[in-house]
Symmetry: C3
């Protein structure tokens, strides 16, 4: 695994560049990402390019031996461009323009802006595509950040109508598929369909889901436009995009098909604070992040581009953008780095080299402080570089468990949660976390992924289940868990004619006749653990494997396939996954709360996310390469698998 | 009492219609409501009517012996109509249009849309007005749903100016009545008056109140337009509108004057979740609804159209629109049905016949599941039909207590709450609930209603009290309770010259010299119970009947009339109502928390809203027609009054 | 000190005026403010002035011996004016106009409206500038009330561009100062710069801060326009503006330079409810206000116009505008009045004379009730008038402690809080309160104020510290406390090249290398007290004076200057301020929780803000002019300093 950093030569006096490059190498970094916000410097005025500074920056970095990832600058179109084409900005759900003054002020559907992107990317790639120091390209930056995937502009409306015309044979088919007869919502033609915002009450969920699909597809084609240009002019370079955390607004699997490497931006402390974790978890892990946050995304994005993935931005200290921004516990930057290695990353690149003293992110730490002194992150990166060298190269292999992840499922459940505590990512994360607490290795994969070779398969929920997936699940000889709401919708966002779980009933003979969403505080005891939030009424001849106190069954099995008809707690998941693992012949460790482990190749890693020293569960005959059986807070142990 | 359901033939293949009709009859239903969202099918293109399908649907249902309630389709104008007249939509308080894509996308004040409504209603009534199967009409659907009464469109602004010109002799009178001198808000003419939105800080409350009165009047005339057409062309049919729960945006008493029957849409579980109930109540009654929710509305809407009322939509299972949507306890659908009977309904119509698998309400249960199998609701309806037959016909009679309800009071107190926990509906509901927990029967009536014959009168609060009401109250010989803030405002939204309670001082010699709104947690112990939220300082020679620990009086009596100068808790209300009932010679039962009772004609009903069996308070010599003295959860007992 | 009231002759029949004036004098009032909302009566139609009624009102009040403060009516432009110039209104951050219908519906930057203000003020001053009864002028009313300082109108955008051109040599300098290279935010010219609203994510903080500076300057010049006219035409009259509570949207120090007297509007109960106090404090002080609210503002505004200050509006009973509006404890109106005297006010003027029965503020108490009977406030004002006479005249003198207050600091910390619980006013108030609980007298002064003569200096936080201030602090020979985040930013909103606290490092050798914001519940024990919310990592050779349990130092001293590197609790502040006071030779009293004291001239005042009687800490040999050593709730004691 390589280390790198994100660097902005345009932010610093040119006389600092060479020194910066030398220090990067000295710390142990070998890659550097540059350029992704530099449009106003590359093209200060319309059509007048200024390559000189960038030529020199690339030369300086390359001469130091650094491999350069060059970003296309399309996330930040300059003011002159926006002023020349004011309707290029996205429109929010209230109808307001999302204007210039920060970043991502463009609508993915605007044809004029796409032309401009084509022009600037072509110009960059033509200039640097063959440069030996350029070893990879990053397209744009963090697609969708700041809620920018879905736009309600005229350009988007027109794009949507075109998309509908491509996806439905005629408007009658659309009216029928959406059930527009319901409230006289029938459209006379595609041109009459508007984006689903500013309606009196909720729009048709099928309308919303198609709009989300359309918006996601716009990201795919926007990215492909750039990828195609790069591929044509810059042979043998990797094309990368940097995804974000807990972000599902577009289909990362589809975008990934046009990438060589999926990368993501890992900010465990900010993600802990901003997302669905409990107050207790936010308190307990304030300076470490929840122990499954980074791993979850590593395992997710490994599944997005044929297994190749990186951390493009690694939190090196406090950030600026969460509600509260504490500092990582000493050791966490190294821990996060080695954990990425344990999950098979090609690169961990710290964001950013040096903290900028100005503008929006001036309170975001870097490896270097604004006064150019090495910050804590730099010394931990240096240590990590030594560790990595000692551990040697690692190859990704198939994990024990496949967890099926669907972006469409996230959109569908946001469109129609039916109970406001039913959140897709939270359910997936709970299941992932349940597997990891048992020490199992997990691959998070698209529903279309090949499932052969896995010892267990878990689908936290797939409201739309394609026949092909059901057929493949039926052919598997391993334990499979299907979570609540799976198969509850057709591709047109309707209830299946035979009710949920739809065609899955071919594999397990049960029918969901009624569902309940439950307010916080309403729970029911199960044989092990308890359920909350969501409860399904099951009609079946099967005997329940697990039931509630009132006799209602919530877990049913048929062959190796189980269906879970409720939202489980951790104890219930432990029970279910434990049973499945036993059937699969997998040995499990019930790990201490703050400890996580991962095997890769012949190495075993253990990570202590707690503030107390942890003793490893079993310690006999281990050959420790790093650390020992007693792991200090924020520390790591690595040993050869027995 | 009859049973019925809401049915949408346009949602289903025509070959299902006859079977559906036969099954309705088999379950025990005799009425069916259709048509209210079918405009796009009745008139697929401008001026091109398609009556054929509706002719056949009506024939099929009628042939099965069902009485049809036909809805006018004006709640869902089709897309071609909106596109031809884009300014027909309402404008929200932020100035955004409330567009097509769901329902109720019209402004009540738009003259062009009124013309279109006149046209479509006339066409329908001319075609079906004499049809023998059509026994009633429903106008539009749920006026005001999704906050659609108040619009800030140009059409509304013009309508408001017209309304002002009709209600004030000249603009000087308006300026004077509103007190516009206050902040130089004086208008040079009616044309200069705008709707009261988008002001820098709160607009003049008199301005807001008049706008609410105007908006309510627009609903009245919109409904009357349809009622007049129907009455002219469809003789001897009832005209009905379906009101909603906990909804006060327009004056239902006034709209009711143009109706034959007031109906309402009863969703006890959704209402519990969405409204002002405590977390404890939301937990305790999650699958039953608070025991006074349905009864409150029954008693309210019985007072809206000369005593005739129905439940047009009865929750038959889980709904889709609350934050959380649990399933009713088994038995609740039957309980709700029989409770409507106990309060004198003509009809309970379940919404809907069969759960639709598509569009916005696909997660809303029906009597039948989407797979056409009978759901729990159907079997409970079947049982209820048998119960009703056994119980026989019942006639409404006058209840023991009149509770005065004023829509204008709700608007006024929303406009100027003075303390954010002073909510009109919550106070009214607390008083209603206090009466019901003592086993008293209540009529909720307009302030203009005849009060003779009641044993007790309760006015939770009437900020504006007309002289005529005060005179009538003075002439009553029964206990009367007047709640806080009554008489505190003139008709022009000013403080009376002699302070609150204004002219009521003629009946009870006291004056409110100061009021306090109190934050949650600030309470004061009274002789019985305690007060919170609101406390009035009373200047009077009277000795207080009830006081606070600090000696301040909060309940004063003069003759039979009491004035309550604070927001009471349940214990205080029990004490007050108990005293009044004793004076009125009414015997009261302090009911167990989850039990409610009602007498109608010679029958007594008891309903168990709890999850535990309840033993009836006194059981000697009862002739039980249904159930027994031990009532299971969600069960009902009925006996002949002794 | 004088007493007065706010009076609106235009609200009352003319035949009441003389009686009102006589009663004012009888109560002990000698001043009356009028006219500030009367534009629609002064100029009912464009250019047609109606002075007659105002002539008579002034004559009537003046004849009664009252000194009149005449308000310019520019806070409430009449409808005809707005209709003639619709773009004069402010635009909110969402792009919506803030229209007519309440007050303050103007944009400070609109040239046309400034012309109109010039015209109406000139007309008023020309007519009344020499009138003997007019002794002072109030400009406009409560600048900025209802969030009206910052506007996003075209007029504001143009004004901002002009302001930028005046404050930066060229657009390159602006781009460089703001760091616009960061996200390609560079502007080609000043004309390309827009207001910082409606951006996709947070705009550049330097952009926001300059916009706040610009908006504040617009208030300054708007006020100066009026002040210059008044000064030219009404010699020897005081020019006053009435500031608000807990309000920092514009620089009150700068506006104060054009005033003779700073005044403020004191509503302790409403401020308690609406601002940052804990639920416990809101409960404990619901009817008194927190004991430091009024004093804090007295001491703040005394520093805004050369030491001359008044209370222009004093709460006389319940108000109408807070979430909850309880009544003051009997005695509080007198207590507040005498407390203003103890802090050196020239005038306490009650708002308002008589409660208006109409319009927005009809629920706001006056000295008189709407029925023209004296309310509690009137009798307390009468008593206060007697007390004041007995106490005699008092002169302001320098307090023991200077607390540095910066409006710019408030804007900067709102722009970039870095942790959402870091609120400028709350930190300043905590420090002020800590000093006051020790019985210390405090002057709240601008950072530019002369500091000689103070025994202690406290800067709660000054993110931008000018070199001149640092030099002056270095020259002081008294204890100085510098709070967290001081010196953390340059004037251009960047991090100083040598890190925080920037140039202050010349006085104390330490460097802040990292900061943490902490979510509620995360605290750390210090040697005394504990810290929360904010923690800085300090690099220094100094030994910490106070540290945390983990050994990290949070308080460092060098010479007399201390730097506090965290957000302190009350115990920690008591420890620090106690130590500083000892060094300064000041004796401190640790006061009971609800008691506050102040010395002015040779008098000592004590105020009991509690609901229990308080015994004064030391009582020997006191010569009580008012009260005694046992102070009842809401009561006051005054004695000659020993």
């Amino acid at each position: 695994m390589k280390l790198g950093c994100c660097y902005y030569p345009e932010h610093w006096p040119e006389d600092m560049w060479a020194g910066d490059a030398a220090r990067m190498v000295n710390i142990g970094l070998s890659r550097v990402r540059i350029g992704e916000f530099a449009w106003s410097r590359i093209e200060p005025q319309p059509g007048q390019y200024d390559w000189d500074w960038l030529d020199r920056a690339i030369a300086t970095l390359g001469d130091a031996g650094l491999e350069i990832i060059l970003g296309t600058p399309t996330a930040t179109p300059p003011k002159w461009l926006v002023d020349s084409m004011p309707d290029m900005v996205a429109i929010d759900a209230d109808g307001n323009p999302r204007g210039f003054g920060s970043r991502r002020h463009y609508c993915f559907s605007h044809a004029g802006y796409r032309k401009e992107c084509e022009r600037i990317v072509t110009a960059m790639v033509q200039r640097y595509g063959d440069h030996p120091a350029i070893t990879a390209w990053q397209t744009d930056n963090e697609y969708g950040c700041h809620d920018t995937v879905v736009s309600y502009s005229d350009a988007a409306a027109q794009g949507f109508r075109r998309w509908l015309a491509e996806n439905y044979p005629d408007v009658d088919a659309l009216n029928s598929a959406w059930g527009n007869v319901f409230w006289s919502m029938e459209y006379p033609d595609f041109e009459a369909v508007d984006p689903p915002n500013l309606t009196v009450t909720e729009p048709n969920p099928a309308h919303v889901l198609d709009y989300r699909r359309f918006a996601s597809d716009e990201v795919v084609t926007f990215n492909r436009l750039q990828a195609d240009i790069i591929r044509a002019h810059s042979p043998d370079r990797d094309i990368i995009h940097n995804y974000m955390g807990f972000f599902t607004e577009f289909d990362h699997h589809k975008v990934g098909q046009d990438l060589n490497v999926a990368s993501w931006d890992s900010y465990p402390l900010g993600f802990l604070e901003q997302f669905f974790f409990s107050d207790d978890e936010k308190h307990r892990y304030a300076r470490q992040g929840h122990p499954d946050i980074a791993a979850f995304h590593h395992d997710l994005y490994r599944g997005c581009a044929n297994g190749r993935w990186s951390v493009m931005e690694q939190q090196p200290g406090p950030v600026n953008w969460a509600r509260y921004n504490p500092a990582p516990l000493p050791g966490m930057v190294r821990l996060w780095t080695l954990e990425a290695m344990a999950h098979g990353a090609e690169l961990v690149s710290y964001f950013r080299w040096r903290q900028a003293p100005f503008a929006q992110e001036q309170m975001h730490a870097g490896l270097l402080r604004p006064d150019n002194v090495e910050d804590i992150g730099a010394s931990e990166a240096r240590q990590a570089a030594r560790d990595i060298t000692m551990l040697g190269a690692l190859e990704n292999d198939r994990s024990e468990v496949a967890l099926l992840f669907s972006y469409e499922a996230a959109w569908l459940l946001e469109t129609q949660p039916q109970g406001q505590s039913f959140r897709y990512l939270e359910l997936v994360f709970a299941m992932y976390s349940g597997l990891r607490r048992l020490g199992l290795n997990v691959d998070i994969v698209a529903p279309e992924a090949e499932l052969d070779g896995y010892a267990m398969v878990v689908a936290p929920t797939l409201p739309i289940m394609l026949s092909s997936l059901i057929a493949r699940l039926g052919a598997l000889q391993v334990p499979v868990l299907i979570g609540p709401r799976s198969g509850s919708k057709t591709d047109d966002f309707s209830i299946p004619a035979n009710l949920a779980p739809g065609e899955l009933q071919d594999l397990i003979p049960l029918k969901i006749t009624r569902v309940e969403s439950l307010r916080p505080g309403i729970t029911a005891k199960a044989d092990s653990g308890e359920i909350s939030r969501w409860l399904e009424h099951v009609e079946t001849e099967l005997t329940a494997e697990t039931g509630l106190e009132d006799g209602r069954g919530i877990l049913f099995a048929s062959g190796g396939l189980r269906y879970l008809a409720a939202w489980p707690d951790a104890a219930l998941l432990e029970d279910i996954f434990g049973r499945m693992a036993a059937e699969a012949g997998l040995s499990v460790d019930k790990l201490p709360q703050d400890l996580r482990m991962r095997r890769l190749g012949d190495l075993c890693f253990a990570f202590n996310y707690g503030t107390q020293t942890v003793e490893l569960p079993e310690t006999a005959n281990r050959d420790y390469i790093l650390g020992s059986s007693r792991i200090a807070p924020a520390d790591v142990a690595v040993w050869k698998a027995g």
